[in-house]
Amino acid sequence: MIRDPKSDTRRSAPILAALLGGVAMFGAAGAAASAADQAPARVEITEVGPVFATSSGMTLYNWAADAATPGISKCTNAHYQIQSEANYGNFPLPAPATRKTCAEKWPPFLASADAKATGDWSLIHRPDGAMQWAFQGRPLYASAKDHRPGDVNGEPVNVRDRAGWHVAKAPLDFPPGFKLVRLPEGLVLATEDGRPAYVRRGGRIQRTSSASTELLQPIAAPGLGHVTGKWSIVDGAAGSRQYAFDGEALYVLPVGLSETDIKEAGWTSAIFRRAAPLPPQIHTRPTILGHIYTAADGKSLYVLSCAELGAPDALPCDDPGDAAVYWSALCGAPAECSRRWRPYLAPANARPSGEWTIEEVSDPPFLDAAGATYPPGTPRVKAWAYRGKPLYTFVDDDVPGETLGHAIQYWNRSAFTVVNTPGEYRDN
């Protein structure tokens, strides 16, 4: 469990004030300063956006299953033995001896005994008597998948991961009608309907009536609008008022047009936070599944995601030490699994970047299909990982762009999937 030493609101106030001040510099402040000063969590700007984090910077998460029971955490230390599935009945869960609990996989964000609720921050009582922080009624948790501050390894990689865990997004102090979308270049300002905002590349716009506005429409601001931080309102063409960010006026394309037309015309997306650079060994390419990440030779890269959705705690089952059947059901004996799914090895001089890390990977992934993955004594290799999940190539992919390993899945539990580049969300 995460017991945050700074979760005592009396002690955390100065630190939080400083943190939120830093956020405001990026234009993403939380609620009003007086309430924010007493918040038990800080805000971190991660690759997926501003999130709540512990005082040590570890990302916090919400679970969708908690939404139906406000003020109660359904993620406990209960040890489940049985899963059930519509049409097929009840079954014992595999490898019960090594199965963890929900609270072990998702440690609750605990409060000190004398913590007090404030504003959107409330306290809930856990079954063991401990107090847990909740924001807007939703309990907060850390993730055992995260190892370093800023990790967001608990966030799904693919839409097929339906366990319902997501980062706890911190509210954005944006003007009405704006949000963030994630694109390859980073987190980009966007209108509420998802159209990315653009700024003129290489220069500030004071007053614009150029021909380029025939294509890009100024994002209009109200005459008496009030903005803070890096946001401002500038005079646009013909006496109109226009939103600006970091001193640059914002524009948007009409519905139905894409950025393809404008990239060569001196415009670029309005970046809120630039993405970490891709490691040199990670490439991208278009495929039938959209743009995906590939190895340096163009072969598709895959991750294994797993959640025991038939169990009440919908526990992740893709961590080292989880049941091996989530591999063996898809590829058989250990040697055959190792033949089909090759870890994408990282060179000795490889360095992590953003969500890309280098992890020790068991190869073969298991020795006994009825046991657990990563048993002691199995060889380990250093492989590239995305959000903590090791990356693999698939034996049947012969040429760059083939994606024959995609959607190899054990019902609604484990599945190998390609990793789409940001903005390439598809129901694959």
Binding site: Q83, R182, L253, L257, S258, T260, L330, G332, T403, L404
Partner: protein, 378 residues
């Protein structure tokens, strides 16, 4: 005569003609350089195994239809033990393997019910009348079609007695609904250099992956003569060949290797066919016909994995089908082992006439904005 050769023969050398002259059922795109010839655009709307099917299946499957994965799993002697050890009915192998992914680890205990008809559909892909082995094919038995021709369609022996892929079966219906609803399934056929839609000895044919949805009218019929854009980004899904039109039937030459987009049972992937040929009756706004060639077994089986979620409702057994497909494979023998790596397959296809548009910089794909409206930050 094909477009370019016709143009050369007439001494006509027009450049790429965007902006195009619209003629019957098509739009002149980059492939057309002869302003006097026409273009026919087609978009595929239906794609079914060409199977010999009686209503009750008794004539072609006298022993009945085949048992599926679940029925075989339950009949398996150690099914309860495996279920309790690995946590699912479909963990049928000694390591808990699903038969979809490791079919040879599983043996179906229930009897196999084989197709028992000599009548069938398809083309004579190997050019023989007896199905003897050739450098490009393995020994096999031929079917006889309604015209008395000897044809190849070994896939019919794999699926002819499988409920899910027969007419009205879950897999067949589900997949064909996905053709309508998912643009990932969009296959376009562009015929250029057409002088006469009834008879033309030489036309050019290009198969494209498209980008757009299909539309139906209130009666449920696909609407012809709408536009369909070509996916110019994924050039690996473009195939070219020549053909002819005989009495209104488009007959193509074989495409040595064709990769086609495929969205099947909720998974996007591809189809890879060797020696792919089409015969399409062009008459009217909704042409229909047949496509046949050798399905590449490796690619085909990797798409079958998509069916792991449908082995129940589709009533088929991957362990049996994998073995049957390799047993009956009759195309592209492996030079080392002699085992054929592809299987002759015929499909009934439906299409509607369409105007095929070749996007340029002025007609961008418009993908990113559409994506962004539904995307959640990853």
């Amino acid at each position: 005569m094909g477009t370019q050769r016709k143009g050369q023969a007439r001494g006509v050398r027009t450049g790429l003609a965007l902006g195009a002259v619209f003629l019957a059922g098509g739009v002149v795109g980059p492939a057309a350089s002869d302003p006097q010839s026409r273009t026919i655009g087609l978009v595929i709307t239906g794609w079914h195994f060409a199977l010999q099917e009686s209503k009750d299946a008794k004539s072609e499957c006298p022993a009945g239809l085949n048992a599926d994965d679940l029925e075989n799993g339950i009949a398996q002697a150690n099914s309860q033990e495996l279920r309790n050890k690995y946590g699912h009915h479909f963990s049928r192998g000694p390591n808990g393997e699903m038969s979809t992914y490791v079919p040879l680890a599983v043996v179906d205990p229930l009897p196999l019910r084989e197709l028992q008809t000599k009548a069938g559909f398809g083309f004579n892909l190997d050019g023989t009348n007896d199905g003897r082995a050739t450098p490009h094919s393995c020994k096999h038995e031929k079917f006889t079609n309604a015209e008395g021709e000897l044809v190849d369609n070994q896939m019919a022996r794999v699926f002819g007695c499988v409920a899910g892929w027969r007419k009205g079966g879950f897999a067949d219906e589900f997949y064909n609904e996905e053709i309508a609803t998912n643009p990932a399934n969009r296959t376009l056929i562009e015929v250029t250099g057409v002088d006469d839609e009834r008879n033309d000895p030489d036309v050019d044919i290009v198969i494209y992956k498209g980008l757009d949805r299909l539309s139906k009218d209130p009666s449920g019929q696909f609407i012809p003569f709408l536009t369909q854009r070509v996916d110019t980004e994924l050039t690996e899904f473009i195939s070219k060949t020549h053909g002819k039109i005989v009495n209104g039937v488009l007959i193509t030459q074989a495409i040595p290797v064709a990769r086609l987009p495929l969205r099947q049972i909720a998974t996007t992937g591809e189809r890879k066919m060797h020696d792919l040929q089409f015969r399409i009756v062009l008459e009217g706004p909704r042409p229909s016909g047949m496509a046949a060639g050798y399905e590449d077994l490796k690619v085909w089986w990797n798409m079958q994995k998509a069916h792991s979620i449908s082995v129940g409702p589709a009533h088929f057994s991957p362990a049996t089908e994998y073995r049957q497909a390799h047993r009956y494979a009759d195309g592209l023998p492996d030079p080392t082992t002699g085992q054929c790596t592809a299987i002759s397959t015929a499909y009934r296809i439906n299409a509607v006439r369409t105007f095929i548009v070749h996007p340029t910089l002025q007609q961008p794909r418009q993908q990113r904005v559409a994506v962004a409206t539904t995307a959640q930050p990853q």
